[in-house]
Symmetry: D2
Subunit: 282 residues, 4 copies
């Protein structure tokens, strides 16, 4: 029996950074968390403990702060590209770099309807993500959004589904639909205006969710993905994951009351999970 080392990678995770850009009349901020990992020629490190081809993960972290001094972190895709260029240029032993970044949103504080120039309010759980994976031959960009929590209180049904002996669920013409959308999409083109497109995709997802006449989560998920692919020429593929966080009707019958879709019990678990990829045909 011979043992071989298969796919392997290492790097630094949860590297946090805030970049403050001091403009003449206001400040801009960008808060990111980065996970950086390398694939490459690391067999001897694993097998005999030879570290001569291992750039310390502490150095990977330092490099983030050094390059943040030199390059703007907006958009996060381009900042990741600068990091990758650096790592691939100076590290022949590295064959592939993957950088996943998450942006923590901050909005300006409004005073009397006017945005403050240097004070900010955290913008919720929703996060912009980007994953850039590159070899010396090819770079691939995946943009995304996580924990986009949305709810619709009408326009959502679930009827005429398959029933078997263990089915007790009732059909419903009108239920609450609540989900935390996770979306990830691939760019077909080069020269992408990453940030404007990201905001456009987010709005397309939200608007389609709001207006869709939903027969199921699958049905609405598909409509959301279709809206994005139709609206953005530069996007070739999108994957959506939408948990169905059930808002169950409170049972008031034992108390002689009817619950006309008024009182709901939000639940965390169990939840449905619906995932699908939509692509453009070549």
């Amino acid at each position: 029996m011979r043992i071989t080392l298969g796919q392997n990678n290492y790097g630094k995770s949860h590297v946090r950074m805030l970049r403050l850009s001091r403009q003449e009349r206001h400040h801009e901020i960008k808060e990111l968390t980065l996970d950086i990992s390398f694939e490459g020629d690391f067999d001897q490190a694993h097998i005999v403990g030879d570290n001569s081809k291992i750039l310390a993960t502490d150095t990977i972290k330092n490099t983030v702060y050094v390059l943040a001094k030199q390059y703007p972190p907006e958009p996060i895709e381009e900042f990741a590209e600068h990091l990758i260029d650096h790592f691939l240029t100076y590290n022949p032993q590295v064959s592939r770099v993957k950088i996943s970044s998450t942006e923590h949103p901050w909005n300006r504080i409004a005073i009397g309807g006017k945005p403050h120039s240097t004070s900010f309010l955290r913008g919720g759980n929703e996060r912009r993500t980007a994953m850039v994976t590159a070899t010396r031959e090819q770079t691939r960009f995946t943009a995304g959004i996580e924990d986009l929590a949305v709810m619709k209180t009408t326009g959502s049904a679930f009827e005429e589904f398959l029933r078997d002996p263990y089915t007790t669920l009732k059909e419903t013409k009108d239920r609450i639909l609540m989900t935390n959308v996770r979306a990830e999409w691939q760019y077909a083109a080069e020269e992408i205006a990453y940030s404007p497109i990201w905001h456009g995709v987010r709005q397309a997802l939200i608007e389609t969710f709001a207006d869709h006449d939903s027969r199921s989560v699958q049905h609405t998920l598909y409509a959301m993905g279709e809206a994005v692919l139709k609206s953005f020429e530069s996007i070739s593929e999108i994957r959506l994951a939408m948990p169905n966080k059930h808002y169950n009707l409170a049972d008031l019958k034992p108390f002689g009351l009817e619950n006309n879709n008024e009182i709901f019990v939000p639940t965390e678990e169990p939840h449905g999970m619906i995932e699908a990829t939509l692509k453009k045909d070549a």
Copy 2:
């Protein structure tokens, strides 16, 4: 040696509810989590296992849903009062009821700048809280806000502090100040417009934080509390807790670079914690 039962309470925690109110042209929603607890004559339950004075916590939960059908949950303070009235009226063995409620914010989805009538977007981590505690003689209202995450990128110094042999911190004229404000305030008056005042307090806290010329977290906390007490006649007392979530300067000196307050390392722990109560003198 004799053992006695001291203060004791029981109840139901994490009772979740969404109340959907169907108006003619739009839906209103309110999502709450309630913790309800009773004090009263429960000695025999503890000592000999006599449950005859124990209303099951399952019944407490049912009562929330039944009363949500009868009373609007807006404002949460008044809904809590209805629950307390019910419990004190029908349960002579209960001498005190405490209801802590947390509201999970939902905002309308905007399409083309127009708010959608039946679709909503989660409004972040920030939560409105209310605690109502009542005996048959007296009811006390505490309103609050949790996890109000704010940051200012200038107008915050920390200088001329006490130094001892273990002090290594440098003085700074200009640092990032980031905190998750927790506030709780007491009402002096009766007949409070709870929801408008809550929004007013929140805005006063945010505006003061943004505009204050801060010499320390204590200094800004005090200014924020003072602004609330001065602006709202009906509030007699406020307590603020403000962790100092340090955004440390990345050290770029080893790389021959100067960091002019541009690149920061956000941290979770350890963090400063500053808490104070401000009151109006009688």
Copy 3:
């Protein structure tokens, strides 16, 4: 209207430390998280931003590491006392210090039944806590335990409870009882053997839980507190908080099956919450 500053405190939270003690034949480790806070003469810091009486929270943190070099962190109560002595001795402006500490348990890895001298396995979620609060006149010790998760699958009933029109819960002679015990106790005496007593209290709580013929959570909580007070002369008072994490019977009737207390659905929310203090009479 005059505004006054009421109770206030500040300090450093989530100060983490591992102390490694190198014995001749083995290593000992202690991992702690400390929250340290000061009360004192801090009015001018709040009101006018005068920091001259503010020892930086960064210095508080440094002091933990310096004193950890000088004093063993075992037991955590005595290490906290050393810290407090230091702070009160060198800081006349401070009138009260509170140190809450949490110990993260590590057990030795066993190889062939023999404990390893320098390798450890994390000991679960359960945490030993200690809170020491001191002025220059008086020191008060509270020891505790958090998240002690226990379950009994028989010997737990809930019957003959109060019923009202909203009660739907059925009586049960035999249910699963699962809880995460939180306990905090006060010492009456001085010269306490903190660590042996802590382990003794933990065992008394667990054994009583296991063997008690429970008529309710209140009933078992009381028995657990009583066992501790009876077993440990040096303990004057104990407070217990025991959430009732419901393990509901899965409803198999729709499928023609009987569920003889075999298949349960564990739940997180809502949950019962039962809290009580037991004291020794003077």
Copy 4:
């Protein structure tokens, strides 16, 4: 432009279950959380909202409880197989079922060194996992462990690593190594004694970690994987992920003290992340 539906799946996540088995002299318990997902012929559900081939996720959940009544949940791999058999037999529209399960460990409470027959203590964060994926042609088993938190206080160095201009990390002959191991392994054979092998793999991982003379996390990870592959003929491949949770030396130099590897600052972020797959050659 034509849009096509790519890979898609749906199911129920976080289905929780406790199975209580009443033996003559003692009780056995098994607490699981299951995530179940289906792939199959669901295009029309997505595209036109036709639910006729959609078995409700609520039914998937019900099926878990029904089958838990009929089949023992020990080992979890075999219980998952029964569920998959059921779903594939009665649902021709389903082509692939994936079941990920997590077991929450409970140990017996010991009284006077004797294990209690019906009372249990939660066994920490560490979790046994199993993933079974099956089509009508093939079933694949992956077993695993998550959050196995281990630490070694000596026998871990990191030296002679690659240095570049951004490297500031010092070489060390003796550091603390702490990690939360995640392992997943594939079975080559059929007729596996899943539970005994799982415990054997866990012990091999822990023992190798404890005894290894580590030159890096990669070096120790490889040794751990190798030990498993060499010890268990039935395992063909293992993947390990080991975050390097840094325990940094507290800097006591500013206070004139030397820190001889005694006082450490545990950190959560950033952390190293090392991942690799080891395989047996065919």
